[in-house]
């Protein structure tokens, strides 16, 4: 039972344009959401997070939006750069419920075309 879903396995974007990566979740207890970036042969690297008390968090070129009513979050990268090409994982946690782990989506492979 996949509680965090990334329905797009891949995405290609031209350099300089916006990349939008989407994520849906089913568990209403989730209150903390994260995006990780993974290059081949490396572990996931933390990118940005958002608490359920917010609907937007911005860090440089990266912005995460959270729509709790739709149980949907998205990661916007603008402008996209070739070095952003990687697999992006969405993850969620139920911190207030004392959850011990993160639930991950299956990832979206982003390719930024120079």
């Amino acid at each position: 039972d996949q509680q965090v879903k990334q329905n797009s396995p891949s995405l290609s974007v031209q350099e300089g344009r916006i990349s939008i990566l989407n994520c849906d979740y089913t568990n209403s207890m989730f209150d903390y959401f994260l995006w990780y970036k993974k290059y081949p042969a490396e572990g996931p690297t933390f990118l940005i997070s958002i608490s359920s008390i917010k609907d937007k968090n911005e860090d440089g070129r990266f912005t995460v939006f959270l729509n709790k009513s739709a149980k949907h979050l998205s990661l916007h990268i603008v402008p996209s750069q070739p070095g952003d090409s990687a697999v992006y994982f969405c993850a969620a946690s139920a911190r207030k419920a004392g959850a011990n782990n993160l639930f991950f989506g299956t990832g979206t492979r982003l390719t930024v075309i120079p």
């Binding site: 996949q2 965090v4 990334q6 903390y32 994260l34 990780y36 042969a41 490396e42 572990g43 996931p44 690297t45 933390f46 997070s49 994982f89 993850a91 946690s93 139920a94 911190r95 004392g98 959850a99 011990n100 782990n101 993160l102 639930f103 991950f104 989506g105 299956t106 990832g107």
Partner: protein, 114 residues
């Protein structure tokens, strides 16, 4: 400071053999997690340590899997009598204190069971 390290980086073994995977978390991080990623799948939670105790072992797929942590630092994941379906990337992560915080991942161990 050093990040999470894992060894070996790659392991090829024969079906039925036992394997040990090691994780060195970030110094001072009390929480440690093991995940695995099978081909084409998201990250699957295996076990969580707080200090040397494992309050959550719910993700271990069978009794062939066990893990321990000593001195609140290094952890070892042991898989006994390996099967081909155990082939995956095994990832270790650590976080500063309580569960559900942002987790920092090691590079993973790629296990191939022939």
């Amino acid at each position: 400071g050093a990040g999470v390290s894992q060894s070996p980086s790659n392991k090829v073994t024969e079906k039925g053999k036992d394997v040990e995977l090691r994780c060195d978390p970030i110094s001072g991080h009390t929480a440690l997690y093991w995940y695995r990623q099978s081909l084409g799948q998201g990250l699957e939670f295996l076990i969580y340590f707080q200090g040397n105790s494992a309050p959550d072992k719910s993700g271990l797929p069978s009794d062939r899997f066990s893990a321990e942590r000593t001195g609140g630092s290094v952890s070892t994941l042991t898989i006994q009598r390996t099967q081909q379906e155990d082939s995956a990337v095994y990832l270790c992560a650590s976080s500063p204190d309580r569960a559900g915080e942002t987790q920092y991942f090691g590079p993973g161990t790629r296990l191939l069971v022939l």
